[in-house]
Amino acid sequence: MTVDTVEHVVIDRKRVGSLALLQEFWSYFRENRGAVVGLAVFILTCFLALFADVIAPYSPTEQFRDALLAPPAWQDGGSARFLLGTDAVGRDLLSRLLHGARYSLFIGCIVVSLSLVVGILIGLVAGFVGGATDTLIMRLMDIILAFPSLLLALALVAILGPSLTNAMIAIALVQQPHYVRLTRASVLAEKTKDYVTAARVAGVGPLRLMFRTILPNCMAPLIVQAALSFSNAILDAAALGFLGMGAQPPTPEWGTMLAESREFILRAWWVVTFPGLAILITVLSINLMGDGLRDALDPRLKRS
């Protein structure tokens, strides 16, 4: 059966290009059941985040003074009014979690795009130009990587001031060396191949050579890394929020919510449990997807 699909795809690719490539990708991706589940959960999270305004029963900042620390609906004393209970100042936990999904996904998107674009640019230059420029860039990246990521992000936020924007900038800066290294390594591997030489001989300029000829062939590891750093960005931003150095209260960011609920852990388990569970589920779904992406994009596994 697999033989059939492979042949079919090869012919198709010639005929319709990117659409067939996507089909080929999907046929590998869906073989990994975990990845499909991850994708489904991720799409659901995106949906909930997009329509949080409509789905959430209350505003994330509305305080119900008559229901402080109300337990979830299924527990004694809980009511259907607040499905997941309320926090210490009477805000509906479910509404806050739904709006929090927006922050986490937004953080992931911004951090990944920022570090991906900057990382690819620097990596392309390092691999393409070589020589002293390359050495200088790679030593700089070594320096960034010598610091534990969270510590460096913390120090950067200390410089920039605690806020969500600064946390995202700090995390992007900390993650970008990984993209530089990956891009540079693939560029070095691709640079000496015949198709690049052919393009060069045909008179293709350096910019086009970098972006149109070489870069598309370096994308597979970068996409896998993007999935990994998307989940890392969410975790790190939540960690910064938890330490009081990320999003500031009353923002319904999950890490910040956890920090606010710390003093109630022994009295109200739900205010601690649900925000963390939301982080775990989101990060887990992205990591599952990342594993699937790696399997589908890794050419070594494809041939076997």
């Binding site: 534990p148 510590l151 938890f242 022994l266 601690v272 925000p275 775990l280």
Partner: protein, 336 residues
Amino acid sequence: MLRFLLGRLSLLIPTFIGITIAAFSFIRLLPGDPILVMAGERSVSPERHAELMRQFGFDRPLWQQYVEYLANALSGDLGRSLVTKRPVFDEFMTLFPATLELSLCAILLAIVIGIPAGSIAAVKRGSASDHLVMGSALVGFSMPIFWWGLLLIILFSGVLQWTPVSGRISLVYFFPPVTGFMLIDSLLSGQKGAFASAVSHLILPTIVLGTIPLAVIARQTRSAMLEVLSEDYVRTARAKGLGPSRVIGIHALRNAMIPVITTVGLQVGTLLAGAILTESIFSWPGIGKWMVDSIFRRDYPSVQGGLLLIAAMVMIVNLIVDLLYGVINPRIRHAR
């Protein structure tokens, strides 16, 4: 071997200089007047301001400041904490054993569980136990450990009341630090119950800090084992009639360990980053909590010194891992 060693060392020097520049820049990158930033809400008289400017050397050219900073740093002088007025290096060294003890226990836990779990998953590939191990590893890998710590506190300290919530040892025990490791010191003190108290304080932080390395090691062991198990020499070993435990334990595991050892070494950064969160949750008096507290207290000389020492430490451990890798795997040593 010597050339290999020198090659690696020569790569290290520019990185080290870069780290010192990064730590040096830290205070100078703070927006606004550095003295006022460090003073925070406290007011500073003009005389005190000038004195502090001189003390920190902010009134001299930047390169002079850096050269002096580097010279001082190399002789172990990293300035004084603004809060305790003690040398930053001494502060760091007093707190470091607590972090080291916690990190060692965490990585030990990760190795002791991760390597067997990963091996079992590889040998029984596709079985229920493989799925269980890999599923748990992925959950562990995705875990927000600060939340994981809180959950464990709710369960074991809150509901079951088995373990204490914070600190390294119960306050009723007091003895002078000998090694700085609470487990050893409590034994040396000979006080009844001290060791048990130290252990009960250590259990939860160890689990929390060990979770991510455990997941990474289990995954790495599995993939390394799978690769080795498909090698010809394993087939040969099986063909000549060796039992499965010998084939897996001696032939496969030993070779699979090479990439795993690197992974263990590379967890140092993860451990130190995790220590920041773990120590904050459990009020563990180590360098992770100290760094966070210093940032909040605007004790910037401490933050600066801590950044330098931690980065230097990560660098040295990575070098040791690199060298060990060369010792275990001759192919690396002789390449180039």
